[in-house]
């Protein structure tokens, strides 16, 4: 069975799907990705679907599941490069892929991850301050 390679670039796992997304392939990708996130400790996942001509409801749901699983493992998922024809078909079918963040291309996807990472780190800093404040007052 064909497998989709998962590449690690810095703090990001990059998945470029270049084969037909059959159900089995999608499920395998879901497992591989979860393992790789844990193994590498990456905080971002980019799934590039720019070569996919067809995204059916199963693939859509798998993408949503991957996003949820990664979120549990503290990694943000961004789906990038969806083709116009695919987007139109999904809209016509009434599938709006809730819970999935999207970007136009890999570059914008990396930017988006960097931005959301920066935001969470700022929040962490704030929490540290709050902890220290609590320590000093007690």
């Amino acid at each position: 069975m064909e497998r989709v390679p998962v590449l690690k670039i810095g703090d990001i796992l990059l998945v470029s799907i270049q084969i037909d997304m059959e159900d089995q392939v999608a499920l395998q990708l879901q497992e591989d990705l979860a393992e790789r996130i844990v193994a590498t400790g990456c905080h971002g996942v980019i799934i590039d679907i720019s070569t996919l001509d067809i995204v059916d409801s199963f693939v859509g749901r798998t993408l949503a599941t991957i996003a949820s699983v990664s979120r549990v493992l503290d990694a943000e998922t961004v789906v990038v490069g969806m083709r116009p024809a695919v987007a139109i078909t999904l809209v016509e079918l009434g599938l709006s892929l809730p819970g999935i963040r999207t970007a136009l291309n890999v570059e914008l996807g990396i930017e988006m991850l960097a931005r959301s990472r920066a935001e969470t780190e700022v929040e962490l800093d704030d929490e540290d301050d709050a902890d220290q404040a609590a320590v000093t007052t007690s």
């Binding site: 116009p84 139109i88 136009l104």
Partner: protein
């Protein structure tokens, strides 16, 4: 009542022998209805061509316009009506150009015609009627082709996608938005988003005369599709009346940003990208 072979032959002779007088009278009758919109020599040339085709068709024994012998005549009539349709003449004026032949012929027959000749004339008249109906038919066909062409041109002309800023594209919609146009707009916008990698799109509906539920549905679909691809859409150019209609119809734009003018939308997008619009010669305070 179709033409019998010898009647057809007789009319072919008549058309040939009296050609000059007939063409002159025929052109005169037609010229009256065209009111000088076509030059006299041009009209006479066309009339003469028609007369020749009629004469040939009859001489070769055509009993009906659908006969193989009348092929030349049909081609001639088709060309005449397609030219007239393109030049803006009405269908009536085109058909009269053929009908006038009947009057010119009966004038030639004159009072001398006996019952036999009149019977022949009735059959001939039916033949000419068929020819006129044929011109009418081809006229309509040419007109419909013209309208279809124009509709297609309109579709291509009216949906530009323009770049407003780095990463910001806009679609100024002008005219009524039906399903076909909405589809074209949607495809072109999404394609441009991919090609330019712009994460922001502004749909400006200043030029849309009315927004009903269907138009709103089309716009919403476009916005959702753009979101799926990872781009953000803003709707701008909503006129006061349109806003009232939208509320009255209960259309929900949800969390889609709407602005009253294109300028507001651009300012909003720039603000989101941490740009700030400041006058060049205003001193910072």
């Amino acid at each position: 009542m179709p033409l019998s072979p010898d009647e057809a032959g007789r009319f072919a002779d008549l058309l040939e022998k009296q050609a000059d007088g007939l063409v002159a009278r025929w052109a005169e009758l037609v010229g009256g209805s065209l009111l000088g919109r076509m030059s006299r020599p041009e009209l006479e040339r066309q009339t003469r061509d028609l007369q020749k085709s009629f004469q040939q068709a009859l001489a070769s024994g055509a009993r009906d316009l659908t006969d193989a012998e009348a092929g030349e005549l049909r081609a001639q009539l088709g060309e005449l009506s397609s030219n007239r349709a393109r030049q803006g003449f009405s269908a009536n004026e085109t058909a009269v150009s053929v009908f006038a032949l009947k009057q010119a012929v009966i004038e030639l027959l004159g009072d001398t015609a006996d019952a036999q000749a009149l019977r022949g004339y009735v059959a001939f008249s039916a033949f000419v009627d068929g020819a006129a109906l044929f011109t009418f038919d081809s006229y309509v066909r040419v007109r419909e082709a013209l309208i279809a062409d124009q509709a297609e041109q309109l579709l291509e002309l009216s949906t530009p996608v323009v770049k407003l800023w780095e990463g910001v594209v806009a679609v100024p919609l002008v005219g009524t938005l039906d399903s076909a146009r909405a589809q074209v707009v949607m495809e072109r916008l999404l394609q441009t988003l991919v090609e330019t990698g712009s994460p922001h799109a502004i749909i400006d509906i200043t030029g849309v005369p009315a927004v009903d539920t269907q138009v709103a549905q089309h716009i919403l679909k476009t916005v959702v599709a753009a979101r799926l691809m990872g781009a953000d859409c803003i709707i701008s150019g909503i006129r006061p009346q349109i806003a009232q209609t939208i509320v009255a119809l209960g259309i929900e734009f949800g969390d889609i940003a709407t602005k009253s003018s294109l300028a507001d939308a651009l300012r909003y997008v720039l603000g989101k990208n941490s740009y700030k619009v400041v006058g060049a010669n205003r001193t910072e305070r």
